[in-house]
Amino acid sequence: MRVRFTGLKAWWVQRLSAVYMLLFVLFLLYSFALQPLREFSRWHAWVARPGISVAFLAFFAALLGHMWVGLRDVLLDYAKPAGLRRGLLAAVALGLLGLCIWLLVILLGLQG
């Protein structure tokens, strides 16, 4: 983790994911402004559309990558004992992995 995930790679992940998330959120706001999805059936149908689902999937991937770099930065700054730091980083990584699988299951479930 230390040697492979260099400063620059982390920086790129953080920046690119931020740009994608910003565009996606703007897209969401624009879509909801055009047609507010106030009923379950319309909300469900909209998210289940292949294009929208993929966009959401990419959003979650960006979100998790962005969270990882951000939380890692906080831990690198403040968690001084190396063992504690590595332990906390591993815990955060596991948590994010869990979130990733959960969100994937949710989106795939819509296609059923």
């Binding site: 230390r2 040697v3 995930f5 260099t6 400063g7 620059l8 982390a10 920086w11 790129w12 930065d73 690198l76 700054d77 403040y78």
Partner: protein
């Protein structure tokens, strides 16, 4: 003028404390250093570094009313009283306002602060076009006073691992020097480790307090872009009118 100055004698005190002084100002007192020297005349146990008294050596860097600056170029007319003077934040205190600069200079040395060029030297000097020389503007003026580095939260949390703004603006000065041949190694050294350069969060305290008006944060941005292999910007770094402690 009323002052509260941090005192600490390692032989006697457990921790630093503030001592109050009152000084009668005369017409020739313009800068804080003038007043500090009068305090020392009153109480000669007070210790602080000073040398050039004109803002070029960087010896008298200290925390004045919460903000780092050089005592010799801090106008007393602009200072809120009582003037609270403390040593540079985050640096080990040796005595009174003397701080240990060892770690600071270690970081400076770690960025290879000299030109690396093994090509046979030409008859006169190694040539450099004016446009190439311009790139060093806003970086070469650094006097290594440590005002920036001791006001940087990222440096406070990891002084042994993060190079700090002063070290990094010096790294910039060599990375962007067209006569240097070790650019790839310098960039690699700063990218290899998530701490050396990338702890910088662009907080910008460094630019705020630099007594020469330099902007290390800007230098760091440009080094990052160079590591990323992106477009290089022409010209030097921005320099702004320094903001003194109030």
């Amino acid at each position: 003028m009323k002052l509260s100055i941090s005192r600490y004698d390692p032989e006697r005190d457990k921790e630093p404390y503030l001592q109050d002084y009152e000084i009668e100002l005369v017409a020739t007192d313009h800068m804080l250093l003038d007043v500090l020297l009068r305090v020392k005349a009153q109480d000669n146990t007070l210790s602080f570094r000073k040398s050039c008294r004109e803002g070029v050596c960087g010896s008298d860097a200290m925390n004045i009313n919460g903000r780092n600056g050089l005592a010799c170029i801090t106008r007393i007319s602009e200072l809120r009283e009582p003037v609270v003077i403390r040593p540079l934040p985050g640096f080990p205190i040796i005595r009174d306002l003397f701080v240990d600069m060892t770690q600071f200079f270690k970081q400076y040395h770690s960025i290879t602060p000299y030109l690396v060029n093994d090509e046979p030297p030409p008859e006169k000097e190694r040539l450099q076009a004016p446009a190439e020389r311009d790139k060093l503007n806003g970086a070469y003026e650094c006097i290594l006073c440590a005002c920036c580095t001791s006001q940087c939260p990222s440096y406070w949390w990891n002084p042994e691992k993060f190079v700090g703004p002063a070290g990094l603006i010096q790294a910039y000065r060599f990375i962007f020097d067209s006569r240097d041949r070790a650019t790839a190694e310098r960039l690699d050294d700063l990218d290899n480790d998530p701490y050396r350069l990338f702890r910088c969060r662009t907080i910008m305290n460094c630019a705020e307090v630099c007594p020469k008006g330099l902007e290390p944060v800007h230098a760091i941005e440009r080094i990052r872009l160079k590591i990323a292999g992106m477009k290089e910007y022409v010209g030097g770094l921005d320099v702004h009118p320094p903001i003194s402690p109030k």
